[in-house]
Symmetry: C2
Subunit: 140 residues, 2 copies
């Protein structure tokens, strides 16, 4: 590694963990409440060897926590850590982008919604410290 503009960029570090299809599908599942190996496998369709690899990496990076359930290190549950839960913002940004720019035409949007009221969420937007919306040209 060690590429040109690659050093000290938060995006590069991020992508070394999250620049992968299955990793995000696993994280999506974790937000849906999935915790067990078999459920991750069935719900995403990932191959078992890849799932084992991705879960290990996410546990190493402390995005997921591997908990013993049942007796003696044979059954496990994978839970989001606080760091993992903080990915919710990124996941929502993906949801919202996809609903607007992908699903826009034909399909009905599948949104995250508020659990109690069922109402939609506020739209994420880039804003300055005073809350004013910013465009791409306003950034450095």
């Amino acid at each position: 590694m060690a590429k040109p503009r690659t050093k000290d960029c938060p995006i590069v570090g991020f992508l070394e963990v999250f620049g992968d299809y299955w990793t995000w599908l696993i994280i999506r599942e974790a937000f849906y409440g999935t915790t067990r190996f078999g459920d991750f496998q069935r719900n995403t369709g990932i191959a078992k060897n890849l799932l084992a690899d991705r879960l290990d990496r996410l546990v190493d990076r402390e995005i997921l926590e591997k908990r013993d359930v049942g007796r003696l290190g044979t059954r496990f549950a994978y839970h989001l850590t606080p760091s993992g839960e903080a990915l919710q913002t990124t996941l929502l940004a993906m949801y919202q982008w996809s609903n607007e720019h992908f699903y826009g035409a034909d399909k009905a949007p599948v949104e995250m919604r508020e659990l109690s009221s069922g109402k939609p969420l506020a739209h994420l937007a880039v804003r300055d410290a005073e809350g004013r919306p910013l465009t791409r040209r306003d950034l450095i």
Copy 2:
């Protein structure tokens, strides 16, 4: 494809384009203002064959627009489309997560900032329609 919980999920559609390391590095570069093939290649370190492939895909998906510059289809510039620019929110979410959960300890955060004032941006957060912050358990 066509996996279990895979149909009609905005995240799956999103990941089929964006579930890739180099694709995001290219998008980051585009936000930094890079438009030319050679600059993308030098600034990210990606191999030329992969860069050509990724740029084609992003142009197909209308994330980037390929414009003729110079004469007769020999020199091009790749610009973000409105859809591409809308990825800014997702990119910022990645930046902010990475600064907080990755760079937190040792390194100084590398943030996007407001161009005119140099001030930091507001932190993205998941909120309900009235602007109240929500936790993971509040969602469906």
